[in-house]
Every structure is written in structure tokens, then in C-alpha cells.
């Protein structure tokens, strides 16, 4: 299942780092961050609890780039 989220981040490299962090989160198959449209597309494993996973994604993103936000 794929879902799209609005994000807030200041620099392009930070967006890349968020993408990496999101990808490494458990339960996430793939994640793509689009810096230009400020959107994050996350592909979850089947039957995964996406709300819980997104919380984890956000906290992982915060670790690599403190100044970011994902509107879950």
C-alpha cells in the first residue's frame, strides 16, 4: 500500500536524508521524498499499521534532520 504525506523541510540534501531514513524504517518497503513538491510517498508492507510506522518514520527523520516535519 502506498500513501502520500505533506512534508516540511528546508534543504534538498536534508530531503535526501529524510528519504534514506524513511527507507530504513521497519515496515517500509520504499519511500520517495520529493523536495520540489514537498511530498513524501511511502510504500508500506502489506497489512502494516501505517499510522504507527509513520510515527517511527517521523522520529527517524527527526534524528537525521531536526528541522523537518511530516504531516501524518
Amino acid at each position: 500500500m502506498k500513501k502520500k504525506y505533506d512534508i516540511e523541510v528546508d534543504c534538498a540534501n536534508c530531503a535526501n536524508k529524510m528519504e534514506e531514513a524513511a527507507k530504513k524504517t521497519e515496515g517500509v518497503i520504499n519511500a520517495v521524498v520529493n523536495f520540489m513538491t514537498l511530498k513524501m510517498e511511502v510504500e508500506f508492507e502489506d497489512g502494516a499499521d501505517h499510522k504507527g510506522i509513520m510515527k517511527q518514520v517521523l522520529s527517524n527523520c527527526k534524528k537525521v534532520e531536526d528541522d523537518c516535519e511530516i504531516y501524518i
Binding site: D10, C11, N13, N34, F35, M36, V64, E65
Partner: protein, 643 residues
Amino acid sequence: MNKKQKRALTKIIIAIVLIVLIKVSELWIDYESFCIGKFGLGKVILFILYMIPYLTVGADILKKAFKGIRNRQVFDENFLMAVATLGAIAVALAYSGDYTEAVAVMLFYQIGELFQSIAVGKSRKNISNLMDIRPDYANIEVDGKLEQVDPDEVAIGTEIVVRPGEKVPIDGVVTQGSSALNTAALTGESIPKDVEVGDQVISGCINMSGVLKIRTQKEFGESTASKILDLVENAASRKSQSENFISKFARYYTPAVCYAALALALISPVISLIIGNDAEWGKWIYRALTFLVISCPCALVISIPLSFFAGIGGASNAGVLIKGSNYLEAMSQAGTVVFDKTGTMTKGVFEVVEVIPDKESFISKEKLVEYAACAEIDSTHPISISLKKAYGKEIDRTRITDIEEISGHGINAKVDGHILSVGNEKLMKQIGIVTATPRTIGTLVYVAVDNEYAGCIVIADVIKENAFKAIKALKDIGISDTVMLTGDRKEVADDVASKLGVGKVYSELLPADKVSKVEELLSVNRGKKKLVFVGDGINDAPVLTRADLGIAMGALGSDAAIEAADIVLMDDDPVKISKAIKIARKCMRIVYENTFFAIGVKLICLLLGAVGVANMWVAIFADVGVMVIAVLNAIRALFVKRL
């Protein structure tokens, strides 16, 4: 400017004012001379004075850097700037006593960040304005009054009202009124399209003159405008090789430069110490700090996706929808263009192209067409339709009796008392007429009146006016390898191909043959050059997917085509093929320019920094200046109108 940017600007201005004040005060006051015994109080005062503007602009960075360390994100750019500037302060404290550089570096870094943020925000806005086709509301008539509702809530089959100046919110059919629609935002076509009752309208068009009532045929989310927006928004998620390269590069570049900085700071002084010379710690640490400033990767990372985004935005404004940066990249490498004949290079509708009355029958051309149209009055065959269209007038039914359709042959009927036979060669043979085949390309319809041969009508698929231009435009941009595939007869195909100047032509292909033909063409090694297939998307979806790059044209409203293709041309003008290639090439040129420019300048600065020619001022230019130039260059990809 948003709140964050305003706050950053205020801080920058305050810091500049403070620095100027300190500099001016230094002209009047000799801080160095303040001493209490041996303790240089002046130095402390100077240090404190300079720390005020430094912290004003840099506190955020220091804070973020600290957080970064706690989260073990060492090579984060805040960390780099913090180390570089704090290091410069330490060097100043120990040696020169001049803090200006450290403060300036931080200041310029912040100015650069602010500029980047504003520039990216602006281009984001520019591009979304270009694609401003999202309708905000739909009008529904309730008790004689118009009510504005969320288009998402309008059910299929609802009648909506679109007034002049408003956007058509949902795809549908006109039930009342007539108007001209501006489709520029969708197709890039500036000539308005006239619509009247019974015509299909697609969402995203702007109603220009009259009030239209439209019965919706799709839900908002399935309507053209929503689909297109979705597509363009998703486009940047399919990343190109260039984008992947640059983000990978950034991942290695920063740590590499940081280790190089560390090596630079240690190696020479240590060697000097060993051989007994002066270590010159200050000089080497300063050079190492310069490295740290240059190591920020943002200029590289921002300019590439921005170029693609601008390129895709500009293209969609010109009526070329590109479904991903990777496709834009592939399009720029197009080497072979394969296209379908019907619907792509020809209009895909039959038209009467020639009327040849028999010399001995004294029948006029008009009469011949009229007779044929009368006989075919009840038939819905494409050929009959084209005959009726060529006649163009209402047919009086009472003139026609005894219609008899002979499958695979044609029609016999009585018109105005004459026995008419309209059909192919077989039908003529049946009534004992031997026909001559005129030297024309197309489908022949023979007409016999009272069992006497009267003449024939030539019907053919018409080549689009722009098709000639399209092939020429492709040749002009260096693509001479053009191939035409068609299911049509060999003579027709060869005729069209030679008229257009197409390189190769394969005719009499079944849909499945087209796929294997494309596969055959794909198997020819053409290096990095890509094979592009252009079709109308109606029955060539498998071919679209099979080619390196599939382009569907005139696909507005056809979901299957939009689904299967990588690039969608919103109107059916074949000239757009070369235009799309030009757009892609321009965008890729900008991408390469930015990549080489940014990496090149940084490497040169690293080199100059290592030998001590470049100081921190040059370094900050390498970071901020390069980024500004790269961002401005990227924006150029947006302007594609005149290509």
C-alpha cells in the same frame, strides 16, 4: 517570504549593522590598548563584540549542529559550518585576532540559505501557477439558484453550470449553451476550441464566452484535470540517473572532504614537527577549515532536481506531460522514432479525396457523390459516413427505396427511380461491369447507375497537415532514423511514407506484429540512443510499454493511453514529438551544466584551498555563489515556449 524567511532576514540585517558598527568603532577606538596590567582587556572586549553578530546569525546553526552530534549525524552541514566558524574563531583567538572572517562566513552562509529558500519557494510557486488547472469549485443549480460545491462531492450524471471565466471542474458533455473554451493550460494550444450541445468537454479548460450546462461523466478524481495534476506531481518521484548520481555523490563527497580536511590539518604540521621545523598549526588548521566550508553539498543537491522539476513543469505547460524525470532523461537520448500511422501521422478518419466520373457517362462529380451518399443513407460503415460527410446536405429519405445491402460487396438501392449500385469491384462484377483501376491510393467506391458504370470515388485516410513539419523537425534536430508501422495495405503505407519522407515503413501488421517489430528494432544495438514509439494509445498500449519510451498522443481523456505511456502529448499535433525532445535536451543540458559547474568549482576551490591560495571568502563563494548560479540556471528549464 514566509515567517521563517523573514526571521532569517531580520537576523542577517541586524548582524550586518552590528558588524559595520564594530568596524566603525574600531576606527575611533584602539581596543588593543586597553590593558589591566599584563591582561589585555581590549582583546576580550573585541572578542565579545564580534561574538554578538556571530551568535545573532549563527546560534541556530550551533544549536542544530549540537543536536546533530547528539543524533550522530556528524557530516551534517550545520555541523560543518559550526566547526568551520568556531575553528576560525579559535585560530583568530590564538593568532591574528581578526574575527571578521568567521562572522562573515556564517553570515554569508545564512544569506545563501535564505536566498535558496526564497528561490526554491518562488520556482515552486511559478511551476504550480503554470499548472493552475485545479478547479476549486463546481456550480450546481438548486431551486433556480447557483450554489458552489466542492467538486469532489459531485456525483456522476449531475448537471453543473460553468460561467464565463470559470474552469470546467469535471469532464462531461454539454447539455445546454455554446461557448469557446481556452485549453491552453492543458494542451499549450492558444486557439480556443468551440463547443456546443452534445460536445465532450474536459476539466481544466477555461470557459471564455457563454454559460454552459454540463452533465458530468466522471468523478472529480477521475477527471482529466485531477489526473494530469496527479501525474505531474508524481513525476518527480521517478528519479533520473542524474538525480541518483548526485545524491549518491553528496553522500560520499562530504565525508571525503571532511577526512581530507583532517588530514590536511595534521599531516604537514606533524611532518614539520618530526623534521624539526615550525609546525605552523594555525596556517594548516585554517586551510582545513576552508575545506569544511567547501564540503557542504547543498548547491549540488538542490540544482539537479530543481532543473528536472522546472523542465517537467515547462513541458506540461506546452502540452507535453512527462511522467518522470527518468523519462525526460531518456527522451533527450532519443535516437529512433517509431510511429504508428493511423491517428498519429494521419487523421484516422476517412475522407473523400478524389471523385472520378466516367468519361462516357456525363455525370457531374457532385451528382456522383450525391448518389453514393443516398445509397449509403442507412449504413454506419466508416466509408459511408465519409461519403455522407462529403455530400454535406440533408438527404430526403423519400427519394430512396429498395435498399439492399450485400455484405462484403456494397449496396443496391433505387434513388429517384434509378437503380444504383455502390460498392467495390466485386459488386461491379456481379452486375457485369468491368472496372478500370485508377492510379490512386485509397479505398475505391464504384458507382453504377442503371447498371451502367458512372464513376468511382476515392476515399482515404488524410495525412495531418503538421505531419510533414513533424518529420522535418525531427530531421532538423538530428533524428533521421524514423520508422512507420501500420496495419494498412502496403501501397497506402508506402505512399504515406514517401510523401512524409519517413525512413522505413512496415505495413500490413497486426497489433501483435507491431510489438514484435518494435522488439526487433530494439535488438539493434544503438548504444545509448533510445527507441521512442509514438502512437495514439487506442490499440497500441502493449507497444507503448515495450519501447524504451512510449509517447501517446491526442490522449486527452483516454485513461488507457495515459496509463501505458511514459510521455503524453495532450493534443494530436505530431510536431510536439520534436518539441518534447527539444525540451528534454534543453533540460538535460542544464542538468549537466549544473553538475559540472558545481562539482568543478568545488574541486578547484578545494585545490586552491589546500595550497593556501583560496581563503574562506573564496570557500563561501564556492558554496553560496555556486548554489545561487545553479538555482538560477535551473529555472531556465522552465522556459520552453520558444523551442
